[in-house]
Amino acid sequence: MDPRDLEVVVTSGRRTSRRQFLGAAGAGAGALLLAACGSSSSSSNTTTKAAGSRTALAKGGTLNLWTWPAYYAPSNLKAFQARTGTHLNIATYDSNDTAFAKLNTAGGTSFDIVVPTSDFVPVMASHNLLAKLDHSRIPFRYIDPKLLGKVFDPHNEYSIPKDYGTIGVIYDPAVVKHPIAHWQDFLDAGYKPGITGKVELPDVPDETLGIALWAEGKDWNTDNLAELRHAADVMKAFAKNVKAFNEFDVSGVTSGAVVMAIVTQGTARLMMLQKKSLKFVIPEPQSELWVDNYCITANAPDVNQAYSFIYYMLQPAHQLKDCAYIGYPTALPDLQKKLPANVPLRSEIFISPSDFARLVPHVIHPAIQGEVENLYSQIQAAAA
C-alpha cells in the first residue's frame, strides 16, 4: 500500500460542513488538483471498450468528477489516469445542498459523476438529474449487499455505494462521568456543570432535530410537524449548553475546550488518534446511516468514462486504499478482514453489525424542508 494512502487525512472529505469546508477547500481541492494533474498526458477522445467486456476501462478522454474534497486515495487517482490515459477534472463541493443546487441550475452542468449522500439520491433523481444505471456495467461482487436496496434507492437504479458511516457521541470520560449509552444520556449530561457550554451540536438541521427525536424513541424521518416542533423545543432549551454548531472541531475536542460532541465515526477516529482517552458511542436506540454514492448525471458528457471510473474505483485493491485514506468503510464485502493491520486505529473505522442494525438512513421531505430549516435556525438563534 502506498504510504501516502495511510496518512491520516485531517480534512477528510465527507462531512466537511460548510464551515469546515471554508478551511479545507484550499488544501483538499488543491491536493486533488495536483493529483489530477499528475499524469494527464493523453487527451485523445477515443473511448473504446476492450473486446468481450462491457465493464472495461475507457481509454483517453476526460472524466468530470463532482465530489467531496479529498475523497479518494491520491494513488488511486494517479493510477487511474496512468492506466487509462483519462484526464480527470475534479470539482468539489462542501455540502449536498451545494451539489444539488449546482446540478439543478437551469443551464445544467457537464459533470459525469456526482457523489451525493443517501438522502439526496431521491431528491436528485426526482429532479431528473441522475441517469439510470446499466447494472451489467457495475461489478456488484465488490459491493457489500447490506448497502444495497436501501430506502433511498430500493433497486439501486441511480446509485452505487462508495462508502458509509454514522454519527455518534464523542466525549471525554474524565469530565463526562456518567457513560453515554442513550441519546437521552447525551441531552441530560449537557446540562451538568463542567459540561454545559462545552457541547457541540451538528451543523446539520436533520441531525440536530434527530437527537431529540431519537431520545424519545421516535422516527427521525417523521413528517409530522408537531413532532418536529416539539423536538425543536427540546433542542432550543438545550442550546444554552452549546459552544458551537460544528461537526468537525478536532482541535476543540482534543484540547478539552469541548467535552462532548456529535461526530461521524471517522471524525471520532481522528480525535482519538490525538487523544486516546476519548470515548465514542453510537447511542441507543437509533442513529443515522449515511451512504455516499457514485451516481452518473443525467446529462453526463461521457457515460463510458463514468462507468469506467466507477469500475476502477470499486476494484478491491482500490477500495482498500480509499478506505485507509478517507477513514470511512468503503463498500467492499468483508472489508474489515482485508484492511491492512497497519492502518492506525483501524477498528474505529468500522461499525459493528449490531450497531449497523440500529442505523436508519435519512429521508428528505421536500414539503417540510423549509420548516425544518426554520426550526434549526431557531435552535441556532437560541444558542447565541
Binding site: E200, A239, K243, A244, N246, G252, A257, A367, S377, A384
Partner: protein, 297 residues
Amino acid sequence: MEASTVSAGGRARTASAASAFGRAVLALSPLAWLTILFVVPLGFTLVYAFAHATYGGVQIGFTWTNFKQALSGFYLSIFLRTLRFAATGTLLCFVVATPLAYFIARKIKRWRGLFIVLLLIPFWTSFLIRTLAWETLLAPNGPIRDALNFLQLHHGLLNVLDTPTAVFIGIVYGYLPLMALPLYVAFERIPSELTEASSDLGSGRLGTFFRVTLPLARPGIAAGWLLTFVPMTGEYVIPALLGGDKGVLMGGLIADQYLTAQNFALGSAMAVLILAVLGAFVFVLIRATGGFKLVPQ
C-alpha cells in the same frame, strides 16, 4: 468619462468610424458588464421574491407571501439582529479606524506610504485564510492563550473562540482597512490652515478635532460607514468561523434558504428586503454629505 471626452476633442477632426466604434465599445462594455452581472441577477431576485416557492425551484406568479414570511416573527427578529450586528460592527470599526487614519494622515510625514501599504497588505491574502488564522490564534490552546498565560494575565484554556467577542474581533480586523482608507483620504485633504485657524481662535486640540476636523471629514466617514455597513449585513463567514455558527444573521439565513431549504422565493424576498434597507441607508448618507462631496480645498 472625462478621458473619452478629452480624446474625442483632440482628434475630433480625424475621427473615423472605427474610433467612434471604439468609443462605443468602451462605453458599452461596462454597461454590458453591469447589465449581465448585476441587473439581470437582480431582476431574477425580484421576480423570484414575488413567485410561489417549490422545493428547488419557483413557480412564477405574484404573491406577497414570501415578504410576509420574511417579516414574520422569527425572521423579523433575525433581520433586526443583523442590522444591530452591522451597526455595532461599523461603530467598532469607526472607533478603531479614526485615530489610526488621523495618525497616518496628519501626524506621519516621512513613512506615510509605508503605513498605507501596511494597511493594504492584508488584502494580499484571502479573506478566508485571514479569518481562519484568527481561529488558530484564538483557539482555546492557541498562541494568544500561551502569551496571556506567560504574562500571568490569564490561566487555563482561552474561552474566546465561539463567542460574540471573537466575532467582533474578526469583524473589526476584516473591515478595518475599508473604514480607515476613506477616513485617511478625508483627513488628509483637510487644509491645515483650517485647523490652525481653529486653534488660533482658541479651540483646544480635542475641540478642533471634534468641531472642525471630524465634521469636515464627513464624506470620508460616510464612505467608510457605507463600505463596512453594507457588506456586514451580508456577513456570514466570520460568525460561522469564529462564532460557532450560533445566532443567525441574514447572510446565513438567505444562504440557507437557497441551499438547505431550497426555498428560492423566500431567500429572494429576504434579499430584496435587505436591499431596500441598504438603499434607504445610502440615500440618507448621500443627503447628509451632499452627495459625498469632497472637502472644499
